[in-house]
């Protein structure tokens, strides 16, 4: 049962998974024993004592037996106490992160996970080094979500207004599935992401490259990534539909009527100003609700986003 990807359990991807599976196995065999006992007695009694000619009445037998009944009360109590203690011990370990754990922030929002690394890089998937304790500090932007990695036997609700923490140590490089397990609306079942466990040295290389995508990717592609990870895409569509903010499709170079009657051309400077001081030039028909990105976005990132908007003809 503890074999990788067995009949009952998925592969064991973390140190904690093996511990959980050992408790699972214990409970499984206890449950299987009692189930077989109940069904076997039931079948044996039905076969042996079924009503048939010559057996229309029951045989004489006692209608209670206190020592027997106490026995089948006390033995189950002893068994469940063993299960309780072991289950609690493994749970406690899973809730006690080592002091030197590598910390990653997790944000749940409808209907997407975002992972923020210590250097500020934001990614849609959870990349981690193998054999290293990783601590996830999680919160939600909107409703309650549930962060779940089956291969690590790890799950915790992600609640708005508070932080929840989980930790794990991955044991084998590879990709593992992440789900949302707390029902959160239309896209609940699409809130999928991957844990990518890197072999030794691989994580550092990945993080450097990923954080550096502005230098390695073409500017428009880099801008597209930023639009997603920085949340622009939440309000600005790229297919012409109106959102909380104006669509980016065909925006660049167009004439934008503003509140107060002015009209501006959407050039590089206009977009840059909108990002850094969004309430100054609000387009007609929209509310001044966009937060400023001043101090939260670098010049080269703005350039990439402008390149992306330019590409959306």
């Amino acid at each position: 049962m503890t074999s990788p990807g067995g009949f009952w359990m998925p592969v064991e991807g973390s140190t904690g998974a093996a511990a959980v599976d050992s408790v699972f196995s214990l409970v499984f065999w206890v449950a299987a024993f009692f189930f077989v006992l109940i069904v076997a007695l039931m079948v044996a009694f039905v076969v042996r004592y079924r009503r048939r000619p010559g057996r229309l009445d029951a045989e004489a037998s006692p209608s209670h037996n206190t020592p027997l009944e106490l026995t089948w009360t006390l033995i189950p109590i002893a068994i469940v106490i063993v299960i309780f203690v072991w289950g609690f011990k493994v749970y406690l370990d899973a809730n006690t992160p080592p002091a030197n754990a590598y910390e990653i922030s997790v944000t749940g929002q409808k209907w997407k996970w975002l992972f923020t690394y210590p250097n500020g890089h934001v990614d849609e998937n959870l990349h981690v080094p193998v054999d290293t304790p990783v601590l996830l500090v999680m919160t939600s932007e909107d409703v309650i979500h549930g962060f779940y990695i089956p291969a690590f036997r790890l799950k915790r609700d992600v609640v708005p207004g508070r932080y929840s923490k989980v930790w794990f140590r991955a044991v084998k490089p590879g990709d593992y599935q992440i789900y949302c397990t707390q029902y959160c609306g239309t896209g609940h079942s699409d809130m999928w992401a991957k844990v990518v466990v890197h072999p030794p040295g691989g994580f550092e290389r990945w993080l450097e490259q990923a954080s550096n995508f502005l230098k390695t990717l073409p500017p428009a592609e880099a801008g597209q990534r930023l639009a997603v990870t920085r949340g622009c895409a939440q309000c600005h569509s790229v297919d012409g539909t109106a959102g909380t903010g104006p669509t980016w499709k065909g925006l660049f170079g167009s004439h934008v009527p503003l509140q107060g009657g002015r009209v501006m051309t959407a050039d590089e400077d206009y977009i840059r100003n909108c990002i850094l001081d969004p309430t100054k030039n609000v387009p007609l028909g929209f509310q001044p609700v966009m937060p400023t990105f001043k101090g939260r976005i670098r010049d080269d990132e703005i350039t990439a986003i402008i390149a992306y908007i330019k590409s959306l003809k």
Binding site: P10, I38, R50, W72, I81, V90, K155, V159, H188
Partner: protein, 564 residues
């Protein structure tokens, strides 16, 4: 045929009263039903009402299972419709069917009869309870057509306070249903305290009444908490008062504490009457005294008390403290014990009996098998470390269906078949009864056992889309759901058929020793021509089969052996 049927109160052949005055024909006309204060008629009306709810909830279930045949988008319904479907399936099955289920239909009909009484203590309150149920159901139905809720039956905040579906109306419906439940509970507690006949001490009471009594206590004490919680939810949605929504300064996890403080005991509101039914049936169909009466009776009370102390096991991954989780895990294991005790006592009752495999007994065997799995899989979820993995997956879905369906619904079906001749004075087809029980058993296991495997592999519940790896499990489960649905159609068909064509039922077709079998089938308006005297409710061996009437008659007292 006069005087020869000792113990059948002399109502026609073998105690059948179809051609004579009985509660069904005592008064005629729709009005005589709608304004009745007769517990038997109210029980029958409740039976029709909750079976209609079960049918509606079942339709939703079949639609959900049909969508899940494919992992991706389905032409049958969108993700939003799917979300509404599983919410309505859950809400209808829980609030309109399983919670009132056994107590309000079978309990209402049988409880006064078992006490040898003329009615419940408060007949008007009983009728009011029924109309509160109708009112609550009406609100729920209106909410369905004016923006059906998509929150899940648990109404978790802040989702439920921010979604634009008609949460307020649905929640108001559940609030009203709560009163229905409280009224029934109150009525039953008083009835059991005050209307027990001469000779029926607490420990000579049928075990079904212990089950109903335990349930009634929970209904009275826990339901108000749900009511207050739902009012707070309405206050937050309608008036913007911050109680649960962190955006307004509230705490969403607080809602979960409040909600489960009711809804976990509610699980025992559902299962205790079911256990009571099984206790009756296992003794009658083993033709033997129940084994370990007092352990079974007291375990019902132990369950009722402990049920109030385990709500936190729904929140092991919600962010409650490690200490709370530890305490709740321990108490959860403790509440498993009284259930285990009952199972062993039922098995011991069968030992050396004369086991009669009539339809109700098939449901008892089915119950022991399915509730066995339901209870034992609870051990996985009570163990903290394992629960973290299994929480909110299909494993949990399978577990509670094994308990709620494999336990409560199966016992309800067993009880319905057991008391059907008493309720309507007709026997159903035994052949089709057994076929129906078998179809339900096979269909149910096919539907839900697969979900244990899927869940332990990590498939999250309430999911419109799912990974390809789960497709074979989902397909098997859907096939099972169709078998199950077909089984229910068979049952509905032969039960309805029996109302018109069934063999007239004798007073005591199964040889039960509880008092409801001492009156005619169906009973007269006033229940008993002569108030019966209560004896040992499990002295089933005092009744012998009489082939001439196709039922049981009381044995003549054995002649005293001559002293040497």
């Amino acid at each position: 045929m006069t005087g020869s049927e000792s113990g059948t109160a002399g109502f026609g052949t073998g105690g059948n009263a179809l051609g004579r005055d009985n509660y069904l024909n005592h008064e005629r006309g729709v009005r005589s039903w709608l304004l009745t204060r007769d517990h038997k008629r109210i029980g029958v009306m409740y039976l029709v009402a909750i079976l209609s709810s079960f049918f509606l909830g079942g339709i939703f279930a079949e639609l959900i299972r049909t969508k899940l045949w494919t992992p991706g988008n389905s032409p049958l319904m969108t993700a939003n419709t799917y979300d509404q479907m599983f919410t309505l399936h859950g809400a209808i099955m829980i609030f309109l069917f399983v919670i009132p289920g056994i107590p309000a239909s079978l309990g209402n009909f049988v409880l006064p009869l078992m006490l040898g009484a003329q009615d419940v203590a408060f007949p008007r309150l009983n009728l009011a309870s029924f109309y509160f149920w109708i009112g609550g159901a009406a609100l729920a139905l209106i909410s369905m057509v004016t923006g059906a809720v998509d929150t899940g039956w648990t109404f978790y905040t802040p989702y439920s306070t921010t979604t634009n579906s008609n949460v307020i109306l649905m929640v108001a419906g559940v609030f009203v249903l709560g009163f229905s439940s409280i009224f029934t509970g109150l009525n039953f507690v008083v009835t059991i305290h005050k209307l027990r006949p001469a000779g029926m001490t607490w420990f000579r009471m049928p075990l079904f009444l212990w089950g109903i009594y335990g349930t009634a206590i929970i209904q009275i004490l826990a339901t108000p908490v749900l009511g207050i919680t739902l009012l707070l939810l309405i206050a937050e949605r309608a008036l913007g008062i911050g109680i649960f929504d962190p955006a307004l300064g509230g705490d969403p996890v607080l809602f979960q504490h409040f909600f489960w403080f009711y809804s976990h005991p509610a699980v025992y509101i559902m299962i205790l009457p079911a256990m009571g039914v099984i206790s009756e049936l296992v003794s009658v169909f083993s033709r033997k005294h129940i084994f370990g009466y007092s352990f079974i009776a007291l375990s019902s009370i132990a369950i009722a008390v402990l049920s109030f102390l385990v709500w936190g096991h729904h929140m092991f991954v919600a962010g409650q403290s490690t200490l709370s989780s530890m305490i709740f895990s321990f108490l959860t294991f403790m509440v498993a014990i009284p259930s285990a005790v009952k199972v062993f006592n039922w098995l011991a009752t069968m030992y050396k009996g004369s086991i009669w495999l009539a339809t109700p007994m098939l449901y008892v065997l089915s119950f022991l098998f399915l509730f066995g799995i339901g209870g034992l899989t609870g051990l996985f979820l009570g163990a903290l470390a394992v629960d973290v993995h299994l929480h909110d997956t299909y494993f949990v879905v399978a577990h509670f269906h094994y308990v709620m369906f494999g336990g409560t619904v199966i016992a309800f079906l067993g009880g319905l078949h057991y008391w059907w001749p008493k309720m309507f004075g007709r026997m159903y087809s035994e052949f089709w009864g057994r076929i129906g029980a078998l179809l339900v058993f096979v269909g149910f296991n096919t539907t839900f056992f697969t979900q244990f495997v899927m869940g332990s592999h990590g498939a999250p519940r309430r999911s419109y889309h799912y990974q390809m790896q789960f497709e074979p499990y989902h397909r098997l489960s859907t096939i099972g759901a169709y078998i199950l649905g077909f089984g229910f159609l068979v049952i509905a068909a032969y039960l309805v058929h029996s109302l018109f064509r069934g063999r007239p039922a004798p007073a005591n077709p199964w040889g039960g020793a509880t008092l409801e079998w001492r009156t005619s089938s169906p009973p007269p308006h006033d229940n008993f021509a002569v108030t019966p005297e209560a004896g040992d409710p499990y002295d089933v061996e005092a009744w012998r089969w009489d082939g001439a009437i196709g039922g049981y008659v009381q044995r003549e007292p054995a002649p005293q052996p001559a002293s040497p």
